[in-house]
């Protein structure tokens, strides 16, 4: 396993070009092309702000610039959930490669996660525009935490992507279950509501959700003024994520030889 893991950096050229291909292929043939990476989060934001401003205003109460608050959570969530949903099927759709070419299978889920990360990064200018519009200046201390949060999320997402892609080869049901799980997961994460309004017992449950800590961190960096109080929990999550990633890679590696036969 460690031997295979150590070989991963050798594939960076391959991963790089596959991510580029993924991004190019996705918007090829559409009129707006790359702009969809900006437009998609904007549209999503529009829908949610519309719903919470006019249909469920009581939920948005007490939060200034609700759009900005929500955007801080939705943007990373989209990266996370799209990565998981896509990677669950990625080994099956890439079966041709696994069966016919000597190809390191883990590259496929990794590419999925990274391609979605690029979309996330492309959404950041939109976020920045919002920050300027709402006149929310960022301090350097806050900005410094942003790459940390990003890295933790990357490791966590890679772990999920690896384990889901490997298991889906054997249990195709995962793809169907997953879309529902992700919907539930979204509402079980303080993205459209602030963590602070929850009752203590609710908080205890939310704390078990790893993405809670990421969402809170992003909100503290980008939305709330003052120091990043959640930094400790972010680091704890970081350690857990690394352990989880290694576990996921172990599972993936164990199942690796079955892929060529099962996909």
């Amino acid at each position: 396993m460690l031997h295979n893991l150590a070989r991963l950096p050798r594939y960076r050229g391959l991963i790089q070009s596959l991510v580029a291909r993924e991004l190019k292929a996705r918007y090829r043939g559409s009129v707006l092309g790359f702009f969809w990476s900006f437009i998609n989060p904007l549209l999503l934001l529009l829908i949610y702000s519309f719903v919470f401003k006019y249909f469920l205003p009581q939920k948005a109460e007490g939060i200034d610039h609700y759009e900005l608050f929500m955007f801080c959570g939705i943007l990373p969530w989209t990266w996370f959930s799209a990565s998981l949903l896509e990677s669950s099927g990625v080994l099956i759709s890439g079966g041709n490669l696994i069966k016919k070419v000597l190809f390191p299978a883990e590259v496929l889920p990794i590419v999925t996660v990274l391609a979605n990360m690029v979309h996330f990064l492309l959404g950041l200018p939109v976020l920045a525009a919002f920050l300027i519009y709402f006149q929310r200046p960022l301090s350097l201390a806050e900005l410094a935490w942003f790459p940390v949060a990003l890295l933790v999320q990357l490791v966590l997402t890679l772990g999920f992507a690896l384990i889901l892609s490997a298991l889906t080869v054997h249990f195709r049901d995962i793809r169907d279950i997953l879309s529902n799980v992700m919907t539930f997961w979204f509402f079980a994460t303080p993205i459209i509501y602030p963590y602070t309004i929850m009752a203590p017992w609710q908080m205890r449950i939310l704390n078990l959700n790893p993405f809670t800590h990421l969402a809170i961190t992003y909100q503290e960096i980008l939305y709330f003024k003052g120091p990043v109080g959640h930094a400790f929990w972010l680091l704890v999550l970081g350690v857990i994520s690394v352990v989880f990633f290694l576990f996921a890679y172990f599972v993936f590696d164990r199942l690796r030889d079955t892929f060529a036969e099962e996909v």
């Binding site: 090829r28 490669l97 070419v101 000597l102 190809f103 054997h170 030889d257």
Partner: protein, 454 residues
């Protein structure tokens, strides 16, 4: 030094029962059989205890029937699948021409795909940039290289895939029956490329059904049968043994088919009057009208059985029952008959039909002005063709005993099958004895060219 070392390699594939096929995560969890269900119900050995080595710079041809484990063997060597037991070692960079253009993405251009495919096969961007023109040139794709791959024809797709794979410049090249990728010209170019590889001391493992290519091109041949090694060594010898084995199997199949047809005919109820029109015409003039019936006719047997054909044996020159002949071999048809009562009006006829139902030849004793005056009890007629000059293919026989006016005693329609094999892939029905002669203005290379298919 050996480029490929395969030691007692076996590959078991799992076969699941129906229960497993429909098993889902839910049912596996509910019944608590998650672990048990992952275990196979039975296994199937695609490759079984295969041991061979290929020294560097040699070319090994792997032959065998469909499903004999050739492709699995290739995947084992390529490292795409791992052997269940045994070891496979390869020294040097491998490029496997197993499925051409396997990694192509339909939405992006040929140019971008060449780069990504090259990287997948282990090249760096720089390598590809350097060889790019050569690749495009080889694939004959200059004008289309910037079009999305989804717009390519299958031939273009394969050519580009082949061009990338071949330009990886591997130490060990694995080829799985991919030479059918283009027109004659392109195939020629591929073979030239292989020859160049050979000259440069690269190792090639070639899986193919083209036996001629194995004979000409390979240093050694490996014959796999049912996943096991049947023979390995000199290509001519191994190919010869393989061809003989294939003929024996065909022989058995044809014999079984004959037995089935004869049985079906025996049980079928045939009215003796009706099919008289299908009887071989006695006068050539009538043939003009008759072929329509000949084409339509299917296997069967009819007749009054006053004379019964008890057995028809197609035999080779050694007098043994045979079904497969080389074009030009001697062929005997033994027709055994029984007439319970003495019959004095009797004609014995025979017809040879090819797979399309075209009558290649038909004759009978009356046409050849042999007047048979009496048949009584057990009798045998032997029809001998000294040299069966038919082109390769499967043929069926009509055998009949009838009255001079055509009334059938026993008519066996297309019940007997034999196959003609030929090294020459000439076409038509009949091969007249012939030779080619040339004047001084024509030079002839007596060694067969690499483009000849066999």
């Amino acid at each position: 030094m050996n480029a490929i070392e395969v030691t007692h390699a076996s590959k078991l594939y799992r076969r699941y029962s129906r229960r497993r096929q429909f098993a889902t995560l839910k049912s596996a969890l509910l019944s608590g059989s998650l672990i048990r269900d992952l275990n196979p119900d039975e296994t199937f050995a695609a490759v079984q205890d295969v041991t061979f080595t290929v020294p560097r710079g040699r070319t090994l041809g792997v032959i065998g029937r469909n499903g004999s484990g050739k492709s699995t063997m290739l995947k084992l060597v390529a490292g795409i699948t791992k052997p269940t037991s045994g070891t496979v070692r390869v020294n040097g960079r491998i490029s496997a021409l197993i499925e051409l253009g396997a990694g192509f993405h339909p939405e992006i251009s040929g140019r971008e795909n060449v780069f990504i495919n090259g990287i997948m096969l282990g090249l760096t961007k720089k390598d590809i940039a350097r060889r790019f023109d050569e690749i495009v040139e080889f694939a004959e794709m200059k004008e289309f290289i910037d079009a999305p791959v989804k717009t390519y024809s299958s031939g273009m797709y394969m050519r580009l895939g082949f061009a990338v794979a071949i330009h990886v410049d591997p130490d060990v090249l694995l080829v799985d029956e991919v030479l059918a990728v283009g027109d004659e010209g392109f195939t020629h170019k591929c073979l030239d490329k292989f020859a160049e590889f050979k000259r440069r001391g690269r190792t090639i493992l070639l899986v193919t059904h083209s036996l001629g290519m194995v004979e000409r091109f390979c240093d050694e041949a490996l014959w796999l049968d049912g996943g096991k090694m049947k023979a390995m060594g000199d290509p001519k010898r191994v190919v010869g043994a393989y061809v003989t084995d294939v003929e024996v199997t065909e022989e058995k199949q044809l014999a079984a088919a004959d037995a089935k047809a004869a049985e079906a005919a025996a049980t079928a109820i045939m009215s003796p009057e009706e099919p008289a029109a299908a009887v071989l015409p006695d006068h050539p003039v009538e043939t003009a009208g008759a072929p329509a019936d000949m084409f339509r006719a299917t296997e069967g047997r009819w007749g009054s059985r006053e004379v019964e054909i008890t057995d028809v044996m197609i035999a080779s020159s050694d007098g043994e029952r045979a079904h497969v002949f080389q074009s030009g071999d001697r062929l005997d048809v033994h027709i055994r008959m029984r007439a319970p009562l003495a019959i004095d009006d009797v004609v014995i006829g025979i017809g040879i039909f090819n797979a399309e139902g075209v009558c290649c030849y038909g004759t009978n004793t009356s046409l050849e002005e042999l007047k048979l005056t009496r048949i009584y009890g057990d009798a045998e007629a032997i029809f001998t063709v000294d040299s069966i000059d038919l082109v390769e293919g499967t043929y069926k026989l009509d055998v009949a005993v009838h009255k001079f006016d055509g009334f059938p005693y026993d008519y066996h329609r297309l019940l007997y099958t034999f196959r003609i094999k030929s090294r020459t892939k000439d076409v038509g029905i009949y091969r007249p004895k012939h030779v080619w002669r040339f004047s001084d203005g024509v030079s002839v290379d007596t060694t067969p060219g690499p483009h000849a298919s066999e």
